[in-house]
């Protein structure tokens, strides 16, 4: 067996005759098992298993990677990861569990709105504690709004007082709202100040004032009493020192009160300078 640099002599496949074979490269002849190649140019192998190969350069040795992936694999920084990912949100460094998220700029987390503070604000829940708002917890827009509960304290309240609660007037847990406080037995249900001709200067729960004649007036209430049995207060600033006011007999109904002003010395009707009227009872 021998060669001249471009061919070698070998035995043909059937092992029956010598033949010459073209060669490439230099050095020793390579056999199938255990051979060591030095700087071979493999071309494009049809297949192969690279289990024990090393030194593959990631930037140039791997194809099919998306933009930025090779860069991230070569330099795995948060910025390079963000550049490689196509649908990220937010900026800054990658955060892991138990990490510090730093200065968050998110304005909502699962529908919980957090407005970025101009200077500094704190929402803190201590370890093992719970902050729960099943319905609505609102502190909006007014400086000084606060809910402060001292150590060991609680905030507990019952339902809004109903009209019946107010009229019963015994609950010490229900709280009163402005729209129902007037139902309490001690509350004034209607009042007004009117002039001679019935023009009102100030009033609450009135519908109208009727001038029936000299010293004769009818007060008409907006939300009536539940019956004609309620306590009426009527007084005047009289035109004379002996003027006085009285409720006209039969002049009280659930929604009206008729009153007269008279001069004591003569008993006749007389216009006062002002009428004052108030009523207490059940509505």
């Amino acid at each position: 067996m021998g060669g001249n640099g471009s061919k070698i002599v070998g035995i043909n496949a059937g092992g029956t005759a010598l033949t010459s074979v073209a060669v490439t490269g230099t050095g020793s002849v390579v056999l199938a098992t255990g051979a060591t190649l030095v700087a071979p140019l493999l071309g494009t192998p049809a297949s192969g298993v690279l289990t024990n190969c090393t030194g593959l350069p990631i930037n140039t040795g791997v194809t099919g990677l998306a933009a930025g992936i090779a860069t991230f694999l070569g330099a795995p920084s948060s910025a390079n990861l963000a550049a490689a990912v196509t649908d990220e949100t937010g900026t800054g460094a990658l955060v892991f569990a138990n990490g510090n998220i730093g200065a968050a700029t998110a304005t909502s987390v699962n529908k919980l709105a957090i407005t970025a503070p101009a200077t500094g604000s704190t929402l803190a829940v201590a370890d093992g504690k719970t902050l729960t708002a099943s319905n609505t917890l609102t502190l909006t827009g007014v400086d000084g709004s606060s809910v402060n509960v001292g150590a060991g304290g609680t905030v507990a309240y019952g339902a809004v007082a109903t009209q019946a609660d107010q009229e019963t007037a015994t609950s010490i847990t229900a709280y009163v709202t402005p729209g129902r406080q007037q139902f309490h037995p001690s509350a004034c249900k209607v009042w007004c100040k009117a002039d001679t001709a019935g023009a009102i200067q100030a009033s609450y729960n009135m519908t109208s004032v009727t001038d029936n004649g000299v010293g004769d007036i009818t007060f008409t209430i907006n939300v009536d009493f539940s019956s004609a049995d309620w306590c009426a207060q009527i007084t005047i600033i009289g035109a004379t020192s002996s003027s006085y006011a009285n409720v006209v007999a039969g002049g009280q109904a659930a929604g009206t009160l008729r009153a007269n002003c008279r001069i004591e010395s003569v008993g006749g009707l007389s216009d006062p300078l002002n009428w004052f009227f108030a009523g207490f009872g059940d509505q």
Partner: protein, 140 residues
């Protein structure tokens, strides 16, 4: 805001002033709503109720008792006005006469016994005969 006038069954005229309460009223409550509320609360026996301009109500109440329904204004029943004025003059004349009578009676009091009284009890014991200048009785 307009007013409502109507005639009562007794013949008198009532003037209704609708109210927008100064406290406890809804902020958007209007004059029109106040007028309607007053209208709805009129007594069932109101006769010929009608809205009138506030200027249709006389400011002078001298003959308030003679006011009557004048359609879109308040009119004055002159017959009633005359009666009112006649009664007013009679009352004044009666008061003047009563005052003169009282002064005459006061002038007729003989002050001798009154001046002689030394104690409040002495004054109490004096009888009305003193007014006529009769014999003064000083009691027991």
């Amino acid at each position: 805001m307009r007013k409502i006038i109507y005639t009562r069954p007794d013949g008198g005229l009532s003037v209704v002033s609708p109210v927008i309460n100064t406290l406890g009223e809804r902020e958007d409550f209007t004059e029109a709503q106040a007028e309607q509320r007053a209208w709805d609360a009129l007594p069932s026996d109101a006769i010929n109720p009608q809205f009138v301009d506030a200027s249709a109500i006389p400011a002078d109440r001298t003959f308030r008792g003679a006011w009557t329904h004048g359609g879109d204004k308040v009119a004055v029943d002159m017959g009633k006005a005359r009666e009112i004025q006649a009664q007013r003059l009679a009352d004044t004349a009666h008061a003047d006469a009563l005052a003169a009578q009282k002064q005459a009676a006061r002038d007729a009091v003989d002050m001798t016994a009154i001046n002689a009284a030394a104690t409040p009890q002495d004054l109490i014991k004096l009888s009305a005969d003193v007014v006529a200048g009769a014999t003064v009785k000083t009691g027991a």
